[in-house]
């Protein structure tokens, strides 16, 4: 049988580091007349101090609001006139900006990113206007009980590491921070020696490197200062929380401290998650697309096929420091969260005790191999992955991940189950809906017999 690796060799990624410290990655991809440019900064919400939570994300928003050479009213249109899309996001380890457009617009895209790195305006009125936009974004998230629960579970699971606060920040900090706070943060972290520029598409690599040098080469590097972070101490006992609010659906989350991406446990942990809830791959940008193959997964069978839940999802994402492996469950109408939790924990206890089978492991590997193909189906997705892994780990680690998954053994997956899925390492959160009279929602008889 021909393996995927035989059929689709790893494409060539060329890289260089400019004199100012900017890492530049270029991959030619000539299938469509498109190019995708991503500029990544090694700054995210874990770099924020008390009183300034949410500043990374707010700064990201401000960096779409005009620069010295791109007037505020001309920000929109530059990329659109080349048929392009643009966006950006902030998470715990990183902030990133992207444009994907016709490949002949490459220099326009690089111009925008070079301006963003050094010349953003931070007009006081714009900072104030964006404060309310971000508070609106926060409130939109709070409307969703599952997001609300996710924030609370994460904040409970971590008591020392800055992964504990939400990327959007706490409301009090968003109401307090000033324009100068934002600008100081921007000037500190938006420097070439803290960034990676990724270019993928229908371009010639030599041209791309030359243009990158022209646009970014003169931007000075700046010392980043001390970036010490508090390490999360080992959790020594189960933690629990319950949220109650008006609503109709009940949710349960179980979060376990999990290995960082560069830990040798990470690949076995990915496979453990695949056995429990189906393989999702490792692309945060495309992770919202498509349903994971999970009908044979253990937690799906026990909870969804068992009629206790309408959905179950496992989340393990590549992060720089150890983050969380989270199992999220939406209970079916009328099902008590205690039943959902008991069944889920029973499955998790069993896999911790007995490990996984060869059949399960091979299926998980095949799923993962397919997901790696599906999640790199566009220049945008390819560029995302190159930049993401370079920012939170290394490019070599990204290219080596398929091998790490392929060689993982039943013993290794069983071992991570035994070490990570212990009660003392987990935080369990419930969202218990109240009906509109302030009482727990009544049970509803449905068409399925349950245990």
């Amino acid at each position: 049988m021909i393996s995927m690796r035989d059929k689709a060799p790893v494409p060539t990624v060329r890289s260089t580091v400019l004199d100012n410290g900017l890492t530049v990655l270029v991959q030619e991809q000539h299938a469509a007349p498109l190019a995708s440019v991503w500029c990544w900064y090694r700054v995210g919400s874990k770099d924020e101090l008390p009183g300034s939570t949410g500043i990374s994300h707010w700064v990201e928003h401000m960096n779409f609001k005009g620069t010295t050479n791109i007037p505020r009213d001309q920000v929109k249109g530059i990329i659109e006139r080349h048929g392009g899309s643009w966006n950006g996001y902030t998470w715990i380890d990183q902030t990133t900006y992207m444009e994907t457009a016709a490949s002949h617009a490459l220099d326009r895209m690089l111009f925008i990113e070079s301006e963003r790195m050094s010349n953003c305006l931070y007009e006081p009125a714009e900072c104030e206007s964006e404060r309310t936009v971000i508070i609106s974004e926060l409130q939109g998230g709070e409307n969703d009980p599952e997001q609300l629960l996710d924030v609370e579970v994460t904040a409970t699971a971590f008591k020392a590491h800055p992964y504990r606060h939400p990327t959007i920040g706490w409301i009090g900090d968003l109401q307090r921070m000033s324009r100068d706070d934002l600008y100081t943060y921007y000037k500190r972290f938006y420097v070439p020696n803290n960034a990676t520029l990724v270019i993928v598409g229908d371009i010639l690599a030599d041209d791309a490197f030359r243009l990158a040098e022209q646009r970014f080469g003169a931007i000075p590097s700046v010392s980043l200062g001390d970036r010490t972070r508090t390490q999360e101490p080992v959790q020594t006992g189960e933690r629990r929380l319950t949220l109650t609010r008006e609503g109709s659906m009940a949710y349960c989350k179980m979060a376990y401290h999990a290995p960082a991406v560069d830990d040798s446990d990470f690949a076995p942990m990915l496979l453990l998650d695949a056995v429990l809830t189906g393989a999702k791959g490792v692309n945060l940008w495309s992770s919202f697309e498509g349903q994971a193959p999970q009908r044979t997964a253990r937690l799906y069978r026990a909870l969804v096929d068992g009629g206790l839940a309408s959905s179950v999802e496992g989340t393990l994402l590549p992060t720089q420091d150890p983050f969380l492996y989270t199992v999220s469950v939406e209970a079916t109408a009328g099902t008590a969260l205690s039943s959902v939790e008991a069944e889920a924990l029973s499955v998790l206890d069993r896999i911790r005790t007995d490990g996984v089978t060869e059949t399960e492991l091979e299926r998980a590997k095949r799923q993962f191999r397919a997901r790696l193909v599906f999640e790199t189906d566009s220049v945008t997705n390819i560029a995302h992955q190159l930049g993401y892994f370079t920012t939170v780990a290394t490019l070599d680690l990204y290219h080596d991940l398929p091998r790490r998954v392929a060689v993982a053994t039943v013993e290794q997956v069983g071992e991570v189950a035994r070490r990570y899925l212990v009660p003392s390492n987990r935080t369990i959160g419930w969202f218990q809906p109240l009906n509109h009279e302030g009482e727990h929602s009544p049970l509803v008889v449905s068409g399925l017999r349950r245990r």
Binding site: I2, A8, A31, A32, L34, F64, V75, K76, E80, R81, G83, G84, S85, A101, A102, E128, S129, R131, T132, V133, I135, S136, E137, Q139, G140, E142, N143, P145, R245, E246, G247, S248, M249, A279, G290, Q291, A292, P293, Q294, R295, T296, A297, V304, G307, S310, T332, A333, R366, R369, A370, V373, F374, D377, S378, P433, L434, H436, S446, G447, L448
Partner: protein, 428 residues
């Protein structure tokens, strides 16, 4: 997509199944999209939600494969497989590796033609749908969207109903009804199988003939859409959702059918109003200048019948009236004055320039071709599309705006933590 555009091979089987194959070589993967003319417009009045229910159960067992066997087949290959009902179509869509293509196509054929609707699976999926209906009712965004469609189209028009139905209608649908719906509505006539990826079109056509060629069924009785109620005045409804922090607004009109010759002018108008950049003119006013909302945009859903144009925004409850006034202002201005030359040029450049992006992946190509077939746009539609946008004049766009955008005919729905004494309030 090739830099020279799409080159699909189109064939029609004697039983009516149309097969579209586009070969691409970018990845060792294939996207399969099989669409039948059995969307929610086929729901009968007492079985609203039945198309959606069938979509949830159709892939949970066939006459020769148990639910367990299908689950193994999907998961062993890492398939991304989904079935959904839209207004006019039921679509089975998946991505697979090239090595698995023939086996996966065989699964798709079996699922479409021979579902067994096992009792146990019907029960499980019923619970899932019930849960989804309750979840949507608790979502301010979903509730506002549902409410505005009901305001625009009324209860008698299928575009005014939820595709998933209601808890009441779901309770009236039993296994026999699902089987009957599949027998009558999920038929080869009008179905389209689209395949995009690392395949050889001639070999695929032979395989498709083998798998779908013997399928026979009576053609479905055509569904005729009732006329859309005329919007004689401004309508407003509120759904109270205590405990929420933010309110969602949906503000809409009856738009145009996809077959309307003015369609591309409406697309450009919508792009200027609520798409270009970060939400078009609406985004400029409500998000960028006033800082009122994280999201605001407009969407145009041209369909077999005249689909809606809906403006959506999420705002603080205190800003609901201010946000609606701003939407009124922008909508009214564009209705009265149209768009500018520069806006027309910008929108055209964006829409024409974005075509390669729209056709970059196998799944995107399959969806594009599926739509081209559904709306009879031709297999060269991707090549003609730039010219169709370029041919739109300023007058076309201004006429489109004038015919549609009138605040005094708007349907406005609000869902969130709104006071009970607000005009038009309804209980949850």
């Amino acid at each position: 997509m090739s830099k020279n555009g799409l080159t699909p091979v189109r064939t029609a089987l004697p039983n009516g199944v149309v097969v579209l194959v586009q070969s691409t070589k970018t990845q060792p993967a294939v996207a399969i999209n099989f669409a039948m003319v059995s969307g929610s417009v086929c729901d009968s009045a007492d079985h609203i939600g039945i198309a959606n229910f069938v979509a949830h159960v159709i892939d949970r067992g066939t006459s020769s494969r148990s639910a367990e066997a299908l689950a193994e087949a999907f998961d062993n290959r890492g398939l991304s497989f989904a079935v959904r009902a839209s207004r006019h179509r039921m679509i089975l869509a998946c991505n697979c590796l090239t090595d698995d293509f023939e086996m996966v196509l065989e699964l798709v054929a079996d699922i479409a033609q021979h579902p067994s609707f096992p009792d146990r699976e019907v029960g499980k999926r019923r619970v899932e749908i019930e849960t989804a209906i309750r979840r949507d009712a608790d979502s301010s965004a979903e509730a506002a969207d549902d409410l505005v469609r009901a305001l625009i189209y009324g209860e008698l028009h299928p575009y005014g109903r939820r595709v998933s139905g209601t808890l009441d209608s779901l309770g009236r649908i039993d296994r026999t009804a699902l089987i009957d719906f599949h027998r009558i509505r999920c038929v080869p006539k009008g179905a389209t199988l689209t395949i995009a990826g690392d395949v050889n079109p001639s070999a695929v056509t032979d395989t498709v003939s083998r798998l779908f060629g013997d399928w026979s069924a009576d053609p479905p009785v055509p569904v005729s859409l009732p006329p859309v109620p005329e919007a004689n005045g401004r309508r407003r409804a509120v759904r109270q959702l205590p405990g929420k922090v933010q309110a969602d607004i949906a503000y809409g009109f009856t738009g145009v059918a996809r077959s309307d010759p003015r369609y591309h002018g409406f697309r450009i108008m919508n792009n200027v109003l609520g798409q270009f950049g970060l939400g078009g003119r609406l985004g400029n006013t409500i998000r960028e200048r006033q800082g009122m909302a994280y999201y605001v945009f407009s969407g145009l859903e041209a369909n077999i019948g005249p689909g809606p144009l809906i403006v959506r925004a999420g705002v603080s409850p205190a800003n609901v009236d201010r946000a609606i006034a701003s939407i009124d202002d922008e909508v009214g201005k564009m209705g009265a004055d149209g768009v500018t030359d520069q806006e027309l040029t910008d929108a055209k450049q964006f829409l024409v320039g974005s075509i390669p992006r729209m056709l970059e992946t196998n799944a995107m190509i399959a969806t594009f071709l599926q739509n081209s077939e559904q709306f009879d746009l031709g297999m060269d539609y991707d090549a003609r599309l730039p010219g169709l946008f370029e041919a739109v004049t300023l007058d076309d766009v201004c006429d489109a705006a004038e015919s549609l955008l009138a605040p005094d005919r708007a349907s406005i729905a609000i869902a969130g933590p709104i006071d009970e004494d607000v005009e038009g309030a309804v209980s949850p």
